[in-house]
């Protein structure tokens, strides 16, 4: 299989394709950076809080301590 010579449409649409490519690449980089910041700030941690289940907004630090096990002797 051989590659055909560059078609005229490739040259004509070069600026458009380059612009779309740069825009998409920038979008991916931005989402990645935003994810790093959100994770570092702990913004997304609340969703996994155990007591309230998925979607709970109670921070881990505010959880009530678990009750001590019963120590009655037989």
């Amino acid at each position: 299989m051989s590659f055909p010579p560059e078609h005229e449409i490739h040259r004509r649409r070069f600026s458009r394709n380059l612009g779309v490519g740069v825009a998409l690449g920038s979008f991916v980089a931005l989402v990645f950076a935003l994810t790093l910041v959100k994770v570092a700030n702990g913004d997304l941690m609340h969703a996994n809080d155990a007591p309230g289940g998925l979607g709970s907004t109670v921070p881990m630090t505010e959880m009530a301590p678990a009750p001590a096990p019963a120590t009655t002797s037989p």
């Binding site: 078609h7 005229e8 612009g19 935003l34 700030n41």
Partner: protein, 310 residues
């Protein structure tokens, strides 16, 4: 073997034409006011979050611009000021403008909500809806009050910036909104005075077309008088201070003087000097808004040094 065949097109849109679809000049004002709204808020976002918020507020504004160009292609073609836009110029197909407008609206609203909060995303969605549907599709062609009510769309960005940072609407955000809302009518009507032919040809019921220029001159003066207390009120909130107050006093005095000069003139005088006063007031109105928001930013920047704020 696959090959690409295409038909020759005398004019084909480049990337820049698609950027023009987003009304970059309007976007620059949106970026600036949203940036100030976000920066003067008492809660500070991480720089990446702040950048993302401003970017997608601007992109949302651009999306509504693309939807406006799709809907208004017929009247844009008639008006000298707008006939070079990508859709009436035949560079971008109306369907493409619609698709880009809808896609960017969705992306910008979702990304702003994810980056900041749901209220900011909802406000951006409402702004796009307001500009594209309420203003472009409904008010613009049906009432001479189109600019007055439609001005709300341009007034939302600083409020969205504030909400992106704080998560709630407060007096300061409402006053920033009101400043642009009340500024829009005298700003646009002073433009309409010397662009009247365009609107008349396109059949857009601007005040100059439906009520005449004399009535428009009176409206400019009345709305400028109403703008003054709104602009000054911000001085006495948590984001205001002596810098803003002094700037606002000077700018409002000058804007009032310009509105008074417009009101005093008649068409014969205006025609004689080719609308010199109207054009200068229009240009000054841009500076008026820029310096008001610039003063708010100055208050915020200088506050740590004991200069800004009360």
């Amino acid at each position: 073997m696959a090959d690409i065949r295409s038909f020759e097109q005398p004019q084909e849109a480049g990337f820049g034409d698609f950027v023009q679809l987003l009304k970059p000049r309007v976007m620059s004002l949106v970026v600036f006011t949203a940036f100030v709204g976000l920066m003067v808020a008492p809660v500070h976002l991480h720089p990446v979050e702040a950048f993302t918020a401003i970017l997608f507020i601007a992109l949302g504004a651009g999306a509504s611009g693309a939807l406006n160009m799709w809907w208004d292609a017929d009247i844009d073609l008639v008006m000298r000021r707008t006939k070079g836009r990508p859709v009436p110029a035949g560079l971008v197909a109306p369907g493409e403008a619609l698709a880009i407008g809808l896609a960017l609206s969705g992306i910008s609203v979702v990304m702003l909500a994810l980056a900041t909060n749901m209220l900011a995303g909802a406000l951006l969605a409402f702004t796009i809806f307001f500009y594209a549907v309420v203003y472009s599709m409904w008010l613009k062609r049906s009432t001479p009050q189109n600019i007055v009510i439609g001005g709300a769309a341009g007034a939302f960005p600083p409020m969205i910036g504030w909400v992106a940072a704080t998560g709630s609407i407060s007096t300061e955000a409402v006053l920033m909104f009101m400043l642009i809302f009340m500024w829009t009518p005298p700003h646009f009507w002073s433009l309409a005075l010397f662009m009247n032919e365009d609107y008349s040809k396109a059949g857009v019921p601007m005040l100059t077309v439906t009520h005449g220029k004399k009535s428009t001159r009176t409206h400019i003066l009345v709305y400028t008088i109403l703008l003054v207390p709104v602009a000054l009120a911000t001085s006495f909130t948590s984001i205001g201070g002596p810098i803003y107050l002094a700037t606002s006093l000077i700018l409002n005095a000058e804007f009032l003087r310009g509105a008074y000069r417009i009101w005093k003139r008649d068409e014969v005088q205006a025609e004689a000097d080719k609308y010199r006063v109207e054009k200068s007031v229009f240009k000054f109105s841009l500076l008026y808004l820029f310096l008001h928001f610039g003063a708010l930013l100055a208050e915020m920047v200088l506050r740590p040094y004991g200069i800004g704020g009360w």
